[in-house]
């Protein structure tokens, strides 16, 4: 499970910039509606989870969304494009400065805060989600990818529903 490594130094600045760009690119593509690009940010066997601080701290395994492997992520994308029914809306991520440290297993342990605003068909824009990303990032063929991305929401309560990944 991704955790902050408080005692490790930050990654070197060249790596830091590449990973920071990668994190920003992830958010911008989701915000631009390029949902088909989403799974490409992950390794084949990656874990993606959205959960709450309450579940995370209690060690409960069931949160809001859990994908183990890119196949399950692709199913999510297919479901939201063809099966799920919801009122159209868009997300806008605001990212905090990432903390990036080399982990003993060779991955980069990343933590960054985020807020996501949701804009509905009615025109209303509201804060939808707030929390932190806890990530494990690896380089595959020179390209950063998530091996693990845990999205920890501060609130236990989701407004209306969640269909798009954060």
């Amino acid at each position: 499970m991704a955790a902050q490594l408080k005692d490790a130094a930050q990654v070197d600045s060249a790596t830091w910039f590449r990973v920071a760009n990668f994190l920003a690119d992830y958010a911008h593509r989701l915000d631009d509606g390029l949902i088909d690009d989403w799974t490409g940010f992950f390794t084949q066997d990656a874990v993606y989870q959205v959960t709450t601080r309450e579940n995370f701290e209690a060690g409960y395994p069931i949160g809001i969304m859990l994908c183990e492997g890119r196949g399950m992520m692709e199913d999510r994308v297919l479901a939201l494009k063809t099966a799920n029914v919801f009122e159209p809306h868009t997300h806008c991520h605001i990212l905090g400065r990432p903390d990036l440290r080399p982990a003993p297993d060779g991955t980069i342990a990343a933590r960054s805060n985020f807020s996501v605003y949701r804009t509905m068909e009615s025109g209303a824009t509201e804060l939808f989600a707030l929390g932190k990303y806890l990530d494990r990032i690896v380089f595959e063929g020179g390209q950063p990818r998530f091996r693990e991305r845990r999205v920890i929401l501060d609130s236990r309560c989701i407004d209306v529903l969640m269909v798009f990944p954060l």
Binding site: E68, G69, M72, D75, E87, C157, I158, M162
Partner: protein, 416 residues
């Protein structure tokens, strides 16, 4: 049938002709009706779900919850006995407990430090005798006359219920034998909480109560159910209503699917896909009765669902006439092995706020709220499967349990 009225409303409600097959839209947006429900239903002769027994497993455990809009606290005292009381100080009415869960020896109000034992009795009052002989409570102050307002408490299969009314029948009678037996099937062994969260839905609480009883919509709106053959109306299944018709069970036997061509023409039948991540639906047969999917309700606000191996308790709390908070408590059994727990965790993706089959319910009731708001004199037409509220063990192409809800609702509200 003559339209009848409820007298405590400034404008009496005339229930439409057509009885339980009609619902006046006014009941979803009228603030007076909402207030009357607090009195007649939530503080009336019914058992309200309060929390899981697991939330108050140890002596000193304290759990805050709600009965309708009233804040309530559930405690377990040092002798292991459960108590429930209104979370409202006997002094000036402040909330006494602020955290969702904690463990305490006694309850102290932060405002003026009145202290209560875990059964809600007032133990001490700060500065009762004043300071330096001055101030303090009057001579006739009697702490035994002040306490946290108690509710009666009862438990069944790990569920804690409370009632404000002395008239409420014993819990097992309230549930009735068929309902109690099915709860025992699903929850009658040591439980393990696997996850919790809630969802704010922007609709009157009764729209969710209807929705969860609506076996007609489930396989039409929730495309994922249909496509992956988790639940379809061309599988054997049925509806069982309680005596008062306000609780229900809807069940499905997946192995009995005989694909009907009716499904080819609806949106829900169009989505063709193999799962790229088949672990999502990996399941095992837990029971030998063939039932692979069930939803059960207990009036007014409790739901137990068992979809494949995904077991959860849901309960919903009215947060205003057009707002409801829906809570999800995902469960497993203590006896589960690692592989079984993993299947429950994976299937956890099916339900909840982002559930592949349930997320539509987060918005669909709001669509009804918005559609009906401003048309209080119009009414819903609920005749799928007939005009009466009766059990149906051969088909779920029916709105019988929805009519059952309105049957019970009209009786308890006096809208007859």
């Amino acid at each position: 049938m003559n339209p009848t009225t409820a007298s405590s409303l400034s404008e009496p409600l005339a229930w439409p002709e057509g009885g339980v097959a009609r619902v006046p839209f006014r009941v979803f947006s009228d603030a007076e009706i909402y207030a009357l429900e607090q009195e007649r239903i939530f503080r009336g002769p019914i058992w309200n779900f309060l929390c899981m027994e697991a939330d108050v497993a140890r002596p000193g455990d304290v759990r805050t919850t709600w009965v309708g809009e009233t804040p309530v606290v559930v405690t377990r005292d040092q002798d292991g006995k459960l108590h429930a009381m209104v979370n409202r100080c006997a002094h000036k009415g402040a909330l006494v407990c602020l955290k969702q869960k904690e463990n305490r020896e006694s309850l102290t109000c932060v405002y003026h430090a009145w202290n209560y034992s875990l059964d809600g009795k007032l133990q001490s009052v700060a500065f009762r005798n004043g300071l330096k002989g001055k101030g303090g409570m009057p001579e006739d102050f009697d702490p035994s006359k002040h306490r946290l307002q108690p509710l009666r408490v009862a438990t069944f299969c790990g569920l804690v219920f409370g009632t404000f009314s002395e008239e409420t029948e014993p819990l097992e009678d309230y549930l009735g034998a068929p309902m109690a037996k099915f709860i025992a099937r699903n929850l009658g062994r040591p439980l393990k909480v696997l996850g919790v969260h809630s969802q704010m839905i922007h609709n009157n609480w009764k729209l969710y109560a209807e929705n969860v009883r609506d076996s007609y919509h489930a396989t039409l709106l929730h495309t994922f159910y249909t496509t992956f053959k988790v639940n379809r109306l061309d599988m054997d299944g049925g509806i069982i209503l309680s005596d008062k018709k306000w609780h229900h069970i809807s069940y499905t036997k997946r192995a009995t699917l005989q694909a009907e061509k009716e499904y080819e023409t609806v949106h829900a039948g169009q989505y063709q896909s193999q799962l790229a991540g088949p672990e999502l639906l990996r399941a095992w047969d837990e029971f030998d009765d063939g039932i692979t999917h069930s939803i059960q309700t207990v009036f007014p606000t409790l739901v137990v669902h068992f979809t494949l191996n995904s077991l959860a308790v849901r309960y919903f709390v009215p947060r205003g006439v057009d707002k409801t908070e829906l809570y999800w408590v995902f469960l497993g059994y203590e006896r589960d092995d690692a592989a079984q727990q993993r299947m429950r965790v994976m299937q956890g993706n099916l339900t909840g706020a982002a559930g592949l089959v349930s997320l539509e319910d987060g918005c669909i009731n709001e669509f009804v709220q918005r559609g009906t708001h401003g048309s209080p004199d119009e009414e819903a037409f609920i005749e799928m499967g007939g005009k009466v509220a009766e059990s149906n063990e051969s088909s779920r192409a029916t709105e019988a349990s929805v009519r059952g809800f309105w049957h019970g609702y009209r009786n308890i509200m006096g809208f007859n």
